[in-house]
């Protein structure tokens, strides 16, 4: 893909109409909040030893519960559905500290979601001509799309930002997967004192 010279870019502050559309799209893509906690093995809880399962290949198969202190605190694996989305979002925010003004981050995240949706579905591509220039009709490559988590952080240079998205979706063959990762780089220019963020081709 080549970058179109006429770029439709993210301006800060956005025109109200664009903001309303983005907010509407963002509202649809809002996460389901859920309470999650990783319950620990109850202290002192034990099982009486049970026979190894028939055909077990484990040399020293143990019927013991995982002892307190040995309890795994794994992060959400794939396939956990919407219940894991808040945990993934919180994980990203905790491990990748915010380094952009909050408003800038919100706008970049919204733009990043829009770019992703345009890429996977064809919807809204005319908004990003520098990425999807001169293309004809598009049928969606993915359905059942859900953005599980998204953050925006500074990029590798002062005038770059990266939107990191974790998302789920099914391809046309019907295979569904979550934990898909897309990174979209935005570059900043200035026009009449306003910062303009433009997505770069990958």
């Amino acid at each position: 893909m080549t970058t179109n010279k006429k770029s439709t870019s993210l301006k800060s502050p956005w025109p109200m109409a664009c903001c309303a559309v983005v907010c509407a799209i963002g509202a649809i893509l809002l996460f389901t909040s859920s309470n999650m906690s990783r319950a620990q093995t109850a202290p002192g809880e034990q099982l009486s030893p049970s026979p190894s399962p028939a055909g077990s290949r484990t040399a020293h198969a143990s019927a013991n519960r995982t002892a307190p202190g040995e309890a795994s605190r794994e992060l959400p694996p794939r396939g956990e559905g919407r219940a894991a989305d808040p945990a993934i979002q919180a994980l990203l925010e905790r491990t990748w500290p915010r380094d952009l003004p909050a408003r800038t981050e919100r706008e970049l995240v919204a733009a990043g979601r829009s770019v992703l949706i345009a890429d996977v579905s064809g919807l809204g591509r005319t908004r990003w001509p520098q990425l999807f220039a001169r293309q004809g009709a598009v049928a969606p490559a993915f359905s059942r799309v859900r953005v599980q988590a998204a953050i925006a952080r500074r990029g590798s240079s002062p005038d770059e930002a990266l939107v990191h998205l974790v998302w789920a979706g099914a391809d046309r063959g019907g295979t569904y997967s979550d934990g898909r990762i897309t990174d979209i780089t935005f570059t900043r220019t200035s026009k009449k004192g306003e910062a303009i963020w433009t997505p770069l081709p990958s």
Partner: protein
């Protein structure tokens, strides 16, 4: 397949937000349709035969094409139709019932917002009121007119025939004579097939899985401790995943619960890091208990080094932000040939998977 170069003009966009709503998750994906690893064993034999025959014959039509191989066609067909799963494939290659996609009339069905005018009078897609993608490779009828060739010997180019459709896809991907052994050209070919970067990533991932599955691991030159660790892990194949389960002694009952409420408390098995703790303990190596913590063990192999840097016996990691170890949520043991042994997720059993089976590759760690 969606042909954009030949479909001119901006198309009317209908029902944008309703199409977006149609695009959104209808659910979280049941276990039935969640992505599992790809291998030739998962492909219906007649489809695999069609891919192989197409790969063999494509140079009769695109003489300069290099590098066409069945995993490429398998990757495309996987994401376009899941290898015609659920259909009957005759010995001739005819697929029934025919595979037709959503009606591309901009109604929002399947997230479609663009109008594709009818080009075949219903010959291939059964409707003269619009256009549907057809066959296992989801050709638009308009594209098939240019790319379709006979490859099953009945002198008819039929997009609903596995052999013909596979050859048509191979021809389209070869373009004017691409060298598909070059990653950039392969990506360009896939992008031409469907202009979406996420689509290219998805197809590329499946291609890698099919390529890996075709090779198979070779441990004959691996050090003794590597063979001990891998053998210990492979011996656990078939043992159920248990959230919180597993320790250096073997399987154990796990804990409650994963974020979606899946409990390991009644399952005697391994979670991903419990399996690696056990396997490495057999070689006298003590690992920390979580995948993220295990990334701090041994010599770190960065994600940037690529999967080609992995050696049998390495730990393999996956993260939600792959460059940040604290987001690592999964670990497996590399066995070579592009494959790892792992306890993948709740509801699965310890098994071999291609390292490309999931997103978020976060590098490895070498302890042996």
């Amino acid at each position: 397949m969606l042909m954009f170069a030949a479909v001119c003009c901006a198309a009317p966009i209908a029902g944008g937000l309703s199409a977006l709503a149609a695009l959104q998750g209808e659910g979280d994906g049941s276990d039935d349709d969640f992505a599992e690893a790809g291998s030739a064993a998962d492909i219906p034999p007649r489809m695999l035969a069609a891919y192989k025959k197409a790969a063999e014959n494509v140079t009769r039509h695109v003489t300069k094409c290099k590098g066409m191989a069945w995993p490429i066609l398998g990757g495309i067909a996987k994401v376009e139709s899941n290898h015609a799963t659920g259909r009957t494939i005759a010995s001739s290659g005819d697929i029934r019932p025919k595979i037709v996609g959503v009606l591309l009339n901009g109604s929002g069905a399947g997230g479609n917002t663009s109008v594709f005018p009818d080009t075949d009078g219903g010959k291939w897609d059964g409707t003269a009121t619009g256009e549907r993608a057809v066959g296992p490779f989801q050709f638009l009828p308009s594209t098939w007119q240019g790319a379709g060739k006979d490859n099953n010997g009945d002198e008819t180019a039929d997009p609903h025939n596995a052999y013909d459709a596979a050859l048509g896809a191979a021809i389209y991907l070869c373009g004017g004579g691409r060298d598909l052994t070059h990653k950039a050209q392969l990506r360009a070919a896939i992008f031409q097939y469907n202009r979406s970067n996420a689509y290219v990533d998805n197809v590329s991932n499946w291609i890698s899985q099919y390529q890996a599955a075709a090779k198979g691991p070779d441990l004959s030159r691996s050090p003794k401790k590597v063979r001990i660790v891998i053998a210990a892990a492979l011996a656990q194949r078939g043992v159920p995943y248990s959230w919180g389960g597993g320790n250096k002694s073997g399987t154990s009952y796990g804990t409650c619960c994963s974020p979606s409420g899946k409990s390991g408390a009644h399952i005697n098995g391994f979670d991903c890091s419990g399996l690696t703790v056990y396997a490495f303990a057999q070689a006298g190596i003590s690992l920390p208990r979580t995948a993220a913590a295990q990334a701090g063990s041994g010599k770190r192999i960065p994600e940037s080094a690529g999967k080609g840097a992995l050696r049998p016996g390495d730990l393999v990691f996956y993260g939600y932000a792959p460059k940040r170890d604290s987001t690592i949520y999964h670990v497996g043991i590399y066995v070579g040939g592009g494959q790892m042994v792992n306890a993948a997720r709740p509801g699965t059993k310890v098994r071999l998977d291609p390292v490309d089976a999931m997103s978020g590759y976060a590098g490895g760690a070498r302890l042996l």
